[in-house]
Assembly symmetry: C2
């Protein structure tokens, strides 16, 4: 099981075909991985399950080759069939304890959280890591909740003894602030898959993050 | 494992909250089951998985009490957690062989089919029954394919040695024709859950179906 959070700082790339400037998923994923991304989440909405499984198997192959961690958003059945390292779910998806019954003890379960109560509940329910956000406003998720700003991130960094991933509107220009507040892992969607030069953007984002520490 | 198709004729009720005239799912399901429905499928779109699991557990309880067969549409993870008798999938969902890996040998797998090639492939892949349709035009499914009319139903009745369920636009006024063409099991959505008097509609539909044979 690859660690979701290596000791060093890292970025967590999330796919979104609608933001990828028409480039094929295989190209986007390979470019991210070749640029050194170690955690890749497949998050696609409005696709049928058959197509999602195909795409996840493609990403599973690529992440396995490069030794990266592969997470599937929402779809536990597809995560299982694609032999993903983890599944990421939201507050209104299946409860963590139910998801655990399906995925067994080894698959990582990540849960999006938006306030301290949800963070504590996630840990108690056995989540392996939590998403913390949205840090900033984002247009990427249609059903995104209002940004919780950096206050919640500060609280998590000080109070939660578990891996967490900051997410929501994180870009090259603001990732330093997020890192300084204690986030060792930052998830980015449009900033990476929507970049004209994905490899250059990965390098710039990582540099900005590391410089902040 | 309840038989999906008892020897006698039967109707297969499918839920749809949007068509249920604002009545709660528990009321609709109990009324259907008390009226003698022996096969109930949960099919709700646009709900989050957590809510779906709750509703499926409710229906699992009710169907177990009444000895009815309970099928979940699309969501294999929820079908597993709710201990449904079966899962019903479409051509663009996970392939039957992949679904079987998740649900094991006992859970029924139903597959929607629209032409002879799909019917033969469903049987070869190990589907337990096939949906045959849409027989007539229907507004119930947003992504419904064009009606295949009674021609495909005739072909299935003559050529396929496996359980099948006719579906798509079947109403009290046309179910006799479907039954005469060889359908022993007919699925109805809006005609049942959208009826002002659900119990009376179930009785009328069954009478029309039986009279045709």
């Amino acid at each position: 099981m690859p660690a979701i959070l290596p000791g060093e700082t890292d970025i967590y790339a999330v796919t979104d075909a609608r933001l990828s400037l028409g480039r094929p998923l295989a190209f986007v994923a390979e470019t991210l991985l070749n640029a050194g991304v170690r955690i890749l989440q497949y998050r696609e909405k409005n696709l049928k399950a058959g197509k999602m499984l195909e795409e996840c198997r493609l990403l599973r192959g690529l992440t396995r080759e490069s030794g990266a961690c592969f997470i599937v958003n929402d779809h536990i059945d597809i995560a299982l069939l694609a032999e993903a390292d983890g599944v990421h779910i939201g507050q209104e998806d299946l409860p963590v304890a139910e998801a655990r019954r399906l995925v067994g003890p080894k698959m990582l379960i990540g849960l999006s959280t938006h306030d301290p109560g949800q963070a504590r509940a996630a840990k108690a329910a056995g989540a392996d890591y939590i998403g913390v956000g949205p840090i900033f406003a984002t247009q990427t998720k249609e059903d995104a909740v209002a940004p919780v700003g950096c206050g919640y991130l500060d609280w998590v960094a000080r109070n939660m003894d578990m891996p967490f991933v900051a997410i929501g509107g994180i870009k090259e220009h603001n990732i330093a602030e997020v890192a300084r507040r204690g986030a060792r892992c930052c998830a980015l969607v449009s900033e990476l898959v929507g970049a004209r030069d994905i490899a250059a953007k990965v390098a710039a984002v990582r540099a900005a993050m590391r410089q902040a520490l």
